[in-house]
């Protein structure tokens, strides 16, 4: 990351903070001042939620757990130990972070809505625990002397300024994460956790870091909320509405961006309060109806939040910025070299690999070896067990029996990111590009496994992009690419980790003949550079010109193994693909 963009991205934050500070200082009305404080607090809480859920896509319905732990830390710490919030707010951050780890370890076993529902349980449980402990109502003792030491200020502006400092801190933290490998890892998890693992990202470790940080921020915010509110009750800090508040401000403003929660809080908190103040005493209850309907309308119009809606709108208004459509000029493909030249020592060996799903024996007793520098094609009709075999190779599935030897070492039971580190790269049959990120950012995700620094990762990514011939479109958003370019981008992402073996899962699927030729040329260039390639394909056609050797799978077992010319003529292969009649025809 160079200095200039860093400063450019910080400018709006500092500008916002300065403007907000000016408003906070000139507003003398204590009620408006309280609103100014609450907007910042709920924005911080939204940012904390965003840090976990916005970036990883794992929706948490239970952020009140961290918030409440923080609030009670501040209240009970002052009541029982006479400690100052100046100490207790950081302490609440630590407790929130620890709670994040404790919650994360068991809960990250779950995915998608199961995760969301499990998260819901934590604040509910804590709610009852704190009631059972007898903390139905606690208040922070009023300090008439030495009040500032206990964060009790007569001037409400100080709370706003402190909250602003907290917000700027959290925003900077978020921005820092967003631009580092941390943020890239989280985004990769959000788009496709399996692909992220395959790209060498230790997804569990990053998710735990994210929930710990998120919990820490929520804890500190909860503690600050207690200091402002002065009264803490279980329902006020562990209640459903608290968790919902984090979701509402973030989803309203924009998920996965630092500005989302800020926009959401700055809009929703005052609107709710105005409605309440204006209508509450005259038409009791109507404020909730209007508020709810307004949120529904906005979510319908801008499902990803206001920030993205506005940004997409502005982007459309400025088409001039788009780069002229460059033809990804493919470097001249090397003529297929003599095949026998390339086969070196055995780099990957599979022995007696089997895996069943219930009664279905998806892969049975498969053995083959891959030699350094060769292009091995694994083919077979639909349902032959190709993808299962791949998943066994790079750690997504554990075989029931058999060995996977990489350089002679058994790798069975290792997680995908460990295998990636050991030099096994992989692409997926179903493409999952990170649509809102540029090509360069998409690829850099795959580079971190080899890179010590962000700069090195960028370099590796640029190199990988160049190798597949996408340099001209590196700055474009992935959403704007063609299928061919996307395939090449996925290839580049796998390449960026500098693998020695590349497992390609149906890379040619969905491409027309001309496009397929492009991709084949790119793969051939990689092989020429010394990367060993194992490619799965469903159709044989394009493969014949690409691979050195075929392994044909049928019904989970190896049917034939050999050079393309022999394999394509083998009656057993023709039978597997086309049925017995055609096999007889071919033989005749």
């Amino acid at each position: 990351m160079t200095k200039a963009p860093a400063i450019r991205s910080l400018a709006p934050v500092l500008l916002f903070a300065a403007a907000y500070a000016v408003i906070a200082v000139v507003v003398t009305n204590s009620y408006y001042q309280l609103m100014l404080t609450l907007v910042l607090l709920w924005a911080c809480f939204g940012l904390s939620w965003n840090l976990l859920s916005g970036y990883t896509g794992l929706v948490s319905f239970g952020h009140a757990a961290f918030f409440g732990i923080g609030a009670y830390t501040a209240a009970l710490g002052q009541i029982h130990l006479d400690l100052s919030p100046w100490l207790l707010i950081p302490a609440a951050g630590v407790f929130g972070g620890l709670a994040g780890l404790l919650i994360g370890v068991p809960t990250f076993r779950l995915r998608s809505h199961y995760f969301a529902l499990a998260m819901l349980a934590y604040p509910l449980a804590l709610y009852y625990v704190f009631e059972w402990l007898g903390y139905q109502e606690v208040t922070l003792p009023m300090k008439r002397e030495n009040a500032a030491a206990y964060m009790q200020f007569a001037d409400p502006r100080i709370y706003t300024l402190l909250a602003l400092a907290l917000l700027v801190g959290v925003v900077l933290l978020t921005l820092l994460i967003e631009r580092s490998r941390f943020g890239m890892a989280l985004l990769a998890i959000k788009q496709n956790e399996a692909a992220a693992e395959a790209a060498g990202i230790d997804t569990l470790a990053w998710k735990l870091r994210a929930i710990a940080l998120s919990g820490a921020v929520a804890g500190a915010v909860g503690a600050f909320y207690a200091v402002v509110q002065l009264v803490v009750t279980p329902v006020a800090v562990f209640g459903m509405l608290v968790s919902a508040q984090a979701l509402t401000v973030t989803m309203f403003g924009g998920v996965g961006t630092v500005w989302g929660p800020v926009i959401g809080a700055a809009t929703l908190i005052p609107v709710a309060e105005i409605l309440h103040a204006e209508l509450g005493a005259r038409f009791p209850g109507i404020q909730g109806v209007i508020y709810g309907m307004a949120i529904v309308v906005v979510i319908l119009l801008a499902p990803e939040g206001i920030f993205w809606k506005v940004r997409d709108f502005l982007r459309r208004r400025r088409p001039a910025e788009a780069t002229p459509l460059p033809q990804a000029a493919p470097a001249p493909a090397p003529a297929a070299p003599a095949r026998s030249d390339r086969a070196g020592a055995v780099i990957l060996e599979v022995r007696g690999l089997s895996r069943s799903f219930g009664g279905l024996r998806a892969v049975q007793d498969v053995s083959f070896a891959v030699r350094e520098g060769e292009i091995l094609g694994i083919i077979g009709p639909n349902g032959a067990g190709k993808t299962t075999a791949f998943n066994l190779l790079n750690g997504f599935l554990r075989p029931d029996a058999g060995e996977v030897l990489l350089d002679g070492r058994d790798m069975v039971g290792r997680k995908p990111h460990v295998l990636c580190r050991a030099g096994v790269g992989r692409t997926f049959q179903v493409m999952r590009p990170f649509a809102r990120m540029t090509v360069a950012d998409n690829v850099v995700v795959g580079a971190y496994v080899r890179a010590a620094s962000d700069a090195e990762a960028r370099m590796l990514a640029d190199d990988a992009i160049a190798r597949v011939g996408l340099t001209a479109v590196a700055g474009r958003l992935a959403a704007e690419l063609t299928t061919r370019e996307l395939r090449l981008m996925e290839l580049a992402r796998a390449l960026a980790g500098r693998p020695r073996i590349l497992l390609l899962d149906e890379t040619l699927a969905g491409l027309g003949p001309a496009e397929a030729a492009d991709v084949v040329a790119a793969i051939r260039r990689l092989a020429a550079d010394g990367i060993t390639i194992v490619i799965i394909e469903h159709t044989m056609h394009a493969m014949v010109r690409l691979v050195d050797r075929f392994v044909v799978l049928d019904h989970g077992a190896v049917l034939v193994e050999g050079a393309p010319e022999t394999v394509t003529r083998d009656p057993r292969v023709i039978e597997a693909y086309l049925g017995r009649k055609w096999a007889a025809h071919a033989a005749g």
């Binding site: 408006y32 100014l36 109502e137 005493a281 909730g288």
Partner: protein, 413 residues
């Protein structure tokens, strides 16, 4: 209020000047002797506590009307009371916001009453204390007047005090009516702050002092989905008394119906509640009068002997069948405000607060027991309570004798 909204909308749009102008203009607004004195009522008018809040508003409106009809504040040239009503919503955050709005936007408001739920009162008084605005409250929590605050005044006996006062009376009542002193008791309570605060002193010492043995001790989280397990425990233990403390009316209904189903209802096991939930008019919407016949409740205040004209007005004007604590206490608050204003002689928060602190007016007309005088904590001195009993579809006051409108009867086993 209209001005206020303009300001904050501007603020939302970062239109600085509006907010600024308003914020700075506010303190200068008061000048000559007001022909009107603003008094506040900060109660829940939306959300799940809206109903008690609405009843409090009825009491406040009746009080203000009568005071004004009788010539307003005489020491201030007959100034009229003007009631400013604010909705404190259904969360402590909304309650605090409303309180902050009250002190900031209504600078000439001199005294207020609120805020029903003790959690709300705690949050509200954190704000009013710092703004030197005196607040009267009917909330029970001991914590409200244990914080060393100088601007909050509790007209009800605190939860701990209510338990301490009512238990001996209940024992006496039982002994006189049934001829035998109860020996065993079951306590079934929800885990809300008020209920827990009532039960705590019982378990800690009161039961032991009275020689009562606790045979069932159950705490539930409202709302109940099924009262069967609770009632089964009571049936198995067959206590002489059942203390039942619900806060949510549906819980009261479930429990009473299940008691009846198990053959324990209608006084087979004398049932005593604490707090207002079991004597609310709403209970009759879902429960038949037979089912609650004989059930008693210890409540901080109730429309009773001497309040006949008030009860009649409440019935005629607001269609309320009887006068609960929420109506009578808030009505009484208006009269406390009136006499404090008379004494202060000016619309000034500090002066009114001081007038309440030094108030000494002998027996109180609208609050049971004790006198119209507050101790240094802000608790009404000698604050008593009432015991009401459901008799033929109406909760009537049976204790203290001075306020009782009916004789208590002790359900026969």
């Amino acid at each position: 209020m209209a001005k206020g909204s303009l300001g904050i909308r501007g603020l939302g749009r970062r239109l600085l000047p509006a907010a600024m102008a308003l914020g700075l203009a506010v303190p200068a607004a008061q000048a000559q002797q007001p022909a009107e004195v603003k008094v506040g009522l900060l109660v829940p008018l939306s959300g799940i506590y809206a109903r008690p809040g609405a009843v409090m508003r009825m009491g406040a409106e009746m009080g203000v009307e009568r005071i004004n009809a009788q010539g307003g504040i005489k020491s201030m040239g007959g100034a009229r009371l003007k009631l400013v009503v604010l909705d404190c919503g259904d969360t402590t955050e909304k309650a605090k916001n409303a309180a902050q709005r009250m002190v900031a936007q209504e600078p000439d408001l001199v005294v207020a009453s609120g805020a029903y739920l003790s959690s709300f009162t705690l949050a509200v008084t954190e704000v009013t204390e710092r703004a030197n605005l005196p607040v009267l409250t009917l909330s029970y929590s001991d914590l409200i007047t244990d914080r060393g605050f100088k601007y909050v005044f509790q007209t009800s006996a605190t939860a701990a005090s209510q338990a301490q006062q009512s238990l001996p009376e209940i024992m006496k009542l039982a002994e006189a009516a049934s001829g035998a002193r109860p020996k065993t008791v079951a306590i079934i309570t929800d885990n809300t702050a008020a209920s827990v605060a009532s039960v705590k002193p019982m378990k800690e010492k009161l039961l032991a002092e009275l020689g009562l043995k606790l045979v069932v001790d159950e705490i539930f989280t409202p709302p109940l989905s099924d009262a069967t397990p609770l009632v089964q425990k009571v049936r198995a233990a067959r206590p002489d008394l059942l203390f039942f403390l619900p806060t949510v009316i549906s819980d009261a209904k479930l429990m009473l119906e299940k008691m009846n189903e198990f053959g324990l209802g209608q006084g087979k096991i004398p049932t005593i509640s604490f707090g207002i939930a079991i004597a609310e008019p709403d209970l009759l919407n879902t429960v038949s009068p037979d089912l609650v016949q004989g059930v008693m409740a210890a409540v901080a205040n109730w429309g009773s002997k001497g309040h006949e004209d008030l009860i009649a007005e409440l019935k005629a004007k607001y269609k309320e069948p009887w006068m609960t604590q929420n109506a009578i206490s808030t009505y009484g608050d208006m009269w406390i405000m009136k006499s404090a204003l008379e004494k202060a002689g000016k619309a000034d928060r500090q002066a009114v607060a001081e007038a309440i602190r030094t108030m000494d007016e002998g027996p109180s007309k609208y609050f049971p027991g004790g006198v119209m005088k507050f101790d240094e904590k802000g608790r009404r001195i000698g604050a008593g309570l009432t015991i009401v009993q459901w008799q033929k579809g109406t909760p009537v006051v049976v204790y203290p004798p001075a306020l009782a409108v009916a004789e208590p009867f002790w359900p026969k086993k």
